[in-house]
């Protein structure tokens, strides 16, 4: 997960448990990455470039990242122990391949979800086919702006 123009890129990363993520900083200015999420707490002291080894994520959960200098920077690492996972495309679609037949629960997560309860749906897969459509009951919260010049809010 890179840091470009005072924003994490990508802003959401979905990874399986026990995997590692590198946090390079491609900006000309320094960033200081932290997480106080219970799934993984860590800090990367002020840096540029790629000075630190990758961070390992061993517990499932949502890890919210911030920069201690630039409060508008926010990103999420979703650490999952699900057998199939991924990030939906711009149209909100996601496809899994090689799923054995069976009944599966599909859980949806988005950093800007406005729902009071967990959003999920059941899908039956037979002969390698199955589909489920999940509709949010409320619109997402507004997305971060993330396009301000780097000389602002320094």
């Amino acid at each position: 997960m890179d840091q470009v123009n005072l924003a994490f890129a990508p802003d959401v990363l979905v990874i399986p448990v026990h995997s590692t993520v590198q946090f390079p900083n491609s900006d000309a200015i320094s960033h200081q990455v932290y997480s106080f999420s219970s799934a993984r707490q860590f800090q990367l002291p002020l840096y540029r470039g790629r000075p630190y080894p990758p961070v390992q994520f061993d517990q499932p959960g949502v890890v919210t990242l911030g920069c201690n200098i630039h409060d508008n920077m926010i990103a999420y690492v979703l650490v999952t122990d699900a057998p199939f996972f991924g990030r939906t495309d711009a149209r909100g679609q996601w496809r899994a391949a090689d799923v054995p037949d069976g009944r599966y629960r599909v859980r949806v997560w988005h950093p800007l979800l406005n729902e009071a309860r967990e959003v999920d749906g059941m899908v039956d897969v037979s002969a390698a086919h199955g589909a489920v459509s999940i509709r949010l009951s409320k619109a997402l919260r507004p997305a971060p702006l993330g396009s301000r010049p780097h000389t602002w809010d320094y």
Partner: protein, 411 residues
């Protein structure tokens, strides 16, 4: 041959150390910027030249001027401490050719469980301007900020200790963040003197820590004013709060009181301790298509008591709208201001007025920024008649082009 090889190895080692030092970001950031202006102004004799004109550049200043020469240094000290120094010159009749506007140490530990504290010790701006958000405490929207920001830059500086506590709700899945600020400071006892001497003004000149501002010459007052002095030995304070809705909206409130003893006098700078208090509020809303709306309001009073209590009530409000298209931006602000001396709007020391500023700017992001601003200020200042024999009412306007080149780096 062997010695040479060893030298090569040791210099490679040194290079490696330096590279590690640099990439770990413990290196200092520096910035150097030169801001030149082309000015066409019909302003009355400027407050910087002991006049009662509202503009930095008056009708004697047409031509090429230095807007600002600025140098900044940010030095991380370990993981959570850092030092910040801002030095500038505005090329006018100041005491020092180059001087500091801010110099402070910051302690910013990592957040824990959604909470974060921050301490600043030294000389810096109180966190009240949602307008002066660009480097060097400048407004990115227009060349000339609102009357409120201009006054803060002219008279207000925290020289002391400030503590902030943040609740980072957006990191916990909520839509809001909250912040509380408190500070104890000294050396700001003359704050208010410029409002009483020349009133509000529309300018981008920030008073330096050891510098001064020109003022109206009277029997009572010296021509030049120094703003950052401790006169009565009584510390002042401010408390503030901020609420942020995602990164879209931000509401800031601040109560400032320098707790000066209005009977105290400082012979060395020929000034009094001005008991100055104000409340300020600002709301900034930004949209996904790069519109910004910024509303600011400030109300307060300042008083001295050389033989009887003299009191000035001041009040200013401002509204700004801007729209950005990538590197291009259009912005406009309207300002309204009023000062009432001894509750009588007709007395010298009172004033009222309003101003419009419209600016186009292009920030190339790397080195260059261009801005073109038209500004018009209308003001009714009774002191112009009493002290200068001029008409109290004046309309001043100026057209100003700013060309700024910035170099930055780290070592």
């Amino acid at each position: 041959m062997r010695t040479g090889g060893r030298q090569l190895v040791s210099s490679a080692g040194l290079l490696l150390c330096l590279t590690l030092f640099a990439t770990h970001g413990v290196a200092a950031d520096w910035e150097l910027s030169l801001d030149l202006r082309a000015v066409s102004s019909d302003g009355r004799n400027s407050f910087l030249d002991n006049g009662l004109g509202k503009l930095r550049f008056d009708d004697d200043d047409d031509g090429i001027r230095l807007g600002r020469l600025r140098a900044a240094w940010n030095q991380p000290l370990g993981e959570t401490f850092s030092a910040h120094i801002e030095a500038s010159t505005w090329d006018d009749d100041d005491k020092n050719p180059i001087d500091l506007t801010e110099a402070y140490l910051e302690y910013r530990p990592y957040p824990r469980a959604g909470w974060r504290t921050r301490l600043r010790l030294g000389a810096f701006y109180p966190p009240m301007s949602l307008e002066s958000r660009a480097i060097g405490w400048e407004s990115p929207y227009t060349i000339t900020p609102s009357t409120i920001s201009a006054w803060i830059g002219e008279e207000i500086r925290t020289i002391g200790l400030e503590a902030q506590v943040d609740w980072l709700g957006t990191r916990l899945g909520h839509s809001f963040d909250f912040q509380m600020t408190g500070a104890v400071f000294g050396w700001n006892d003359p704050a208010g003197t410029m409002l009483a001497m020349h009133g509000f003004a529309l300018h981008d000149r920030q008073t330096t820590l050891f510098g001064r501002v020109g003022a109206l010459q009277t029997d009572l007052q010296m021509a030049k004013k120094e703003l950052f002095h401790e006169i009565d030995g009584r510390p002042g304070f401010y408390v503030g709060a901020q609420a942020r809705y995602l990164d879209r909206a931000i509401l800031n409130v601040l109560h400032y009181d320098n707790r000066a003893d209005p009977t105290a006098e400082a012979i060395e700078i020929r000034d009094f301790a001005w008991k100055t208090r104000f409340d300020a509020a600002a709301l900034r809303i930004e949209t996904a298509n790069d519109w910004t709306v910024l509303l600011q309001a400030m109300q307060g009073d300042t008083a001295i008591n050389p033989y009887i209590l003299l009191n000035w009530d001041f009040d200013s409000q401002s509204a700004l709208v801007s729209k950005r298209w990538g590197r291009h931006m259009l912005a406009a602000h309207y300002d309204w201001f009023e000062i009432e001396f001894q509750d009588d709007a007709a007395l010298s020391g009172s004033e009222n007025g309003n101003a419009w500023a419209i600016a186009y700017s292009c920030d190339t992001g790397e080195h260059w920024r261009f801005a073109l601003e038209w500004l018009r200020v209308e003001s009714d200042v009774p002191a112009r008649a009493e002290f200068l024999g001029e008409a109290p009412f004046a309309i001043e306007s100026k057209l100003e082009l700013s060309v700024r080149y910035t170099l930055s780096g780290n070592f």
